[in-house]
């Protein structure tokens, strides 16, 4: 994480990133001051409930969303400058996987044409080399060669997501950002795709950032995790210690909402139930953003906004009650 100094620049370094939307009802602070450092080779999960800004954050990192404030450095280069100077070079380094695989492919193209497109855009290889590359890509995502002549609509959900992963890998990127790549899939297929991500990361040495709201999956595959709440980072750190000993009350509540498949564990398990909905990002509460729903809220939480600081699991949390040695336990 941030305290580990590396000679190699981190894959992603976001500083003070803000994305605000001007709407008819007022200013929506979808992402409101996020600092994020993701080292190369990490498998990073961004979690949080719907509307907390995780997708907007992912889109802002790759430049699909204009950032109101703050900078993003990718592989040590300023993202905005890099895209302005060399958008093809940027595309070869960083790729994005969309939530809806079908929507992210042209309905006029076959799978073969879809996969070939990035190679054509970057004028890579001749016809036979491209054909060979397509075969490699299909092999990588475990799809049969017969899908090449089909149209994306005729594929199953899992196959579609495999195609979109294969397309993202066509340019050999070092960084892959995935916006909820699993939420459109049913549970059994989700497991296959998760395993595919894990295998690809090991096989190709990718840095993967995955936006998810399924904590079980993050626990399974991600080496590190960022928990977001209402446009800000609530807690971040290495997955195992964060999940074993969460410092932020929100993370604790989120984790307690994950059911255990074993009824002997599930039945007596204490669960934290949060009251109410998250406040509107149009009008965040003063002080800690979680203070309106926090079960262990203290007077100071409603006044001063907590900053990210080191906590017991060697990650960071934005909570007044979480100290390096001890933290609030609900």
């Amino acid at each position: 994480m941030t305290d580990v100094k590396q000679a190699d620049p981190p894959a992603i370094e976001a500083q003070g990133l803000k994305v605000h939307f001007q709407t008819a009802a007022g200013l929506v602070r979808a992402v409101d001051g996020v600092d994020l450092t993701i080292p190369k080779g990490a498998f990073h999960g961004i979690v949080g409930e719907s509307g907390c800004g995780k997708t907007t954050l992912a889109r802002a990192i790759i430049g699909l969303q204009h950032a109101t404030e703050g900078t993003v450095q990718i592989n040590g280069r300023d993202r905005a400058d890099w895209q302005k100077q060399d958008r093809k070079g940027f595309a070869r380094a960083v790729q994005f996987i969309f939530q809806d695989p079908l929507g992210s492919m042209s309905r006029r193209q076959t799978v073969g044409q879809t996969l070939e497109e990035p190679l054509l855009i970057h004028s890579i290889g001749n016809a036979s080399e491209r054909k060979q590359r397509l075969a490699e890509l299909l092999d990588l995502v475990a799809l049969p060669a017969t899908v090449l002549d089909r149209i994306p609509r005729s594929l199953s959900g899992g196959q579609r997501q495999r195609v979109s992963i294969a397309r993202a890998l066509a340019l050999n990127p070092s960084l892959l950002i995935c916006d909820e790549p699993l939420s459109a899939l049913d549970v059994s297929v989700r497991a296959q795709i998760v395993n595919l991500f894990a295998r690809l990361q090991a096989q190709l040495g990718l840095t993967i950032v995955i936006v998810a709201h399924d904590l079980a999956i993050v626990r399974e595959v991600c080496s590190e995790v960022t928990v977001m709440y209402l446009g800000r980072v609530a807690e971040q750190g290495v997955t195992k210690p964060v999940f074993a000993d969460p410092a932020h009350p929100y993370t604790q509540a989120l984790l307690s909402a994950v059911p255990s498949p074993d009824p002997r564990i599930e039945a007596p398990r204490p669960r934290i139930l949060l009251a109410g909905d998250p406040p509107s990002p149009r009008n965040p509460p003063p002080g800690c953003r979680f203070s309106t729903r926090c079960p262990v809220v203290e007077p100071q939480c409603r006044v001063t906004e907590p900053q990210l600081r080191p906590v017991a699991h060697s990650g960071q949390a934005a909570c007044h009650l979480a100290a390096a040695e001890s933290h609030a336990v609900i």
Binding site: L64, R87, K88, F96, S106, R108, E117
Partner: protein, 299 residues
Amino acid sequence: MKNWPWLILTPAIIFVLIGLFAPFLMTHDPTVQDYKAILSPASWSHWLGTDYLGRDMYSRIIGGARTSLVAMVFVLLAALVIGVVIGSFAGYVGGRTELVLISIIDIALALPSLIIALALIGVFSGASWSWMSDYWKMIIALTLAWWANYARMSRAVVVAELQQPYIEAARVMGASHMWIFTKHILPHVLGLVVVYASADAGALVLAIATLSFLGLGVAPPTPEWGQMLVDGMSYIEEFPSLVIIPGLALTAVVVSFNLLGEAFALQKVPKAVRGGLLRRKKATRAAEETARAATEAKV
């Protein structure tokens, strides 16, 4: 294409073929006047009779088909190109440019295209335009009256397509605007616009005839259906065929192109389903049939 109503294509194809091969189909020179055979009825030498100047009606109908076809193709192509370019540009660029272009398109659409064409021909009749023949004045006036619809449609398609997530995906892959436009958006635009144009062709033939009828289009000696209607009007009591024949020809062309447009609109088949996939589907279906027949035979 299975289920494609091939029959509907026939009248339109016949019109195009007649237009293309008109010189070979005509029995007489359609401009030559024969005062010995004025207003003669149908006979072996004049299949559809002659008009008030003794010109062969059959040859004039055929020649009129050619005049209409050539003018229609010119206007349609020019209007399509102008419309697609302006409309796509407006939709793709957006912002203030789009607003300005849309206002121009809306103004052009608010006025009936025939009125615009008439006004433009009026403008072109000035001395400074005398180098241009009446025929080209009509073509240009109609083009300027006709492009707005194509621009409006092109813009609508471009705006709708730009919102699709796959456009974003293409941007992420490093595609340039030119790439996205030509590879992803233009095919959609052309798909719609060409279908519309096929139905529009009939209306355009009618507009060309209308302008000639009003004496503003094709100059008299050239055979033209609208012109023939005017010529025949004075004799409508005694020789109604002089009006009925060109009228029928015009009606047939309008109806045939409308049918064609309708058929296109109903039968839009996604590209990937044509060709290979369809053949394979047919093959598997045939294989299933034979397999079923074989099992039934065994039973």
